[in-house]
């Protein structure tokens, strides 16, 4: 894996602009759903049919807990949400600053081995998350 800072190529879409604003829009959608309009969480059809949680069960409630500042409850409901929020807290300011100021961007080049390791890690993390949700009886 190698990293480098480079300016975006002219004529190419700016990843950071898209990433930052789409993330912010998604957070706004979720906040509007839960907080401003107080709409109910979306029922999981997998849970309804099997009685078992899917890997995304509890995400809505975990996000709502996070909006209320209840980090522990959020972690307990679905640990993926606080982790994703932490990543977003790092990524969005970086993306906004670099895109608005026209600064060089971080680019990570992955080897085939890195990609494989990343896929296995993602698979393992999903399996661990799902096991946790089943064990705690979400």
């Amino acid at each position: 894996m190698t990293t480098q800072w480079r300016r975006p190529e002219p004529g190419r879409p700016d990843r950071e602009t898209i990433g930052a604003w789409v993330t912010l829009a998604w957070v706004a959608f979720a906040a509007a759903w839960l907080h401003w309009f107080g709409l109910p969480p979306i029922a999981c059809p997998f849970h309804a049919a099997t009685g078992l949680p899917c890997p995304t069960c509890g995400v809505t409630r975990a996000f709502a807990a996070l909006l209320q500042g209840r980090l522990g409850a959020s972690l307990w409901l679905n640990p993926a949400v606080p982790v994703a929020a932490a990543v977003a807290l790092l990524y969005v300011p970086y993306a906004l600053v670099t895109s608005l100021l026209g600064l060089p961007r971080l680019r990570i080049a992955l080897t085939a081995r890195d990609r494989l390791a990343l896929r296995w890690s993602a698979g393992f993390a999903t399996a661990a998350l799902w096991t946790f949700l089943i064990v705690v009886g979400r």
Binding site: P10, G11, R12, P13, D14, R15, T17, I18, W21, V22, A25, W26, A28, F29, A32, W33, L34, H35, W36, F37, G38, L39, P40, P41, C44, P45, F46, A48, A49, C54, P55, T56, R61, A64, A65, S99, R107, L110, R115
Partner: protein, 236 residues
Amino acid sequence: MSDQDEDTHEPEIDHPEPAAGIVMEAAPRTGPPWEATGPTGPRFIETVKQVLLSPTALFRNMRREGGYGGPLTFGVIGSTIGFAIGMLMQLAIALLTPGQGAMNRPVIGVFALMFLLFLPFLLGLSLLIWAALYHLVLRMLGAARYPFETTFRVVAYAFGSTSLLQIFPVCGGLIGFIDSIVVSIIGLTQTHGVSTAKATIAVLVPMLILTLLAFMALAAAISTHTGALPGLSQAL
């Protein structure tokens, strides 16, 4: 946008700043595989693959004009398959869910069948409406350098491909929704030659407005049904 898209090694093309709305073209656009000749299935699959994995390359090569028929057909086929499979899976799960015995299954089946019959028309209309909204915002920003057809072609290829992600259960719909936003932004930058910021505004503003209106309608419907405004405490 995938790494593959970033790693696509195309011939280096100079993109000088366009003057007075003229976008410089280094090479003629030949169009996506869907607009080529050959059997329909492989052309469709190859186009979907390119939209999902290397959208920049696809839209950079997409023709800005050439008729509505091809893109409309692609968009309707892709989104109908995605929505129909997604809906049937949800329906199957709902019917298999314990405690749903009171549901009138034949009536639900008839409604689902009627909905599926009208689905291609509804989705074709929705492609036109989304394209019109994006194009309206582009015009308001002074960024619509090409006619409505160009925006429509972007929307048709973007939605026709990303809707297919709905066939993945659990979070396919959400991923497809987010990907449709990203792919549409990329498409507008590569066809209208606008900045990413303006393309992002053109896509997100109509989506935010319509989503807020939908949420308001939903909240009003729930409050009418329950007699009280839904609140966060109830949601939890």
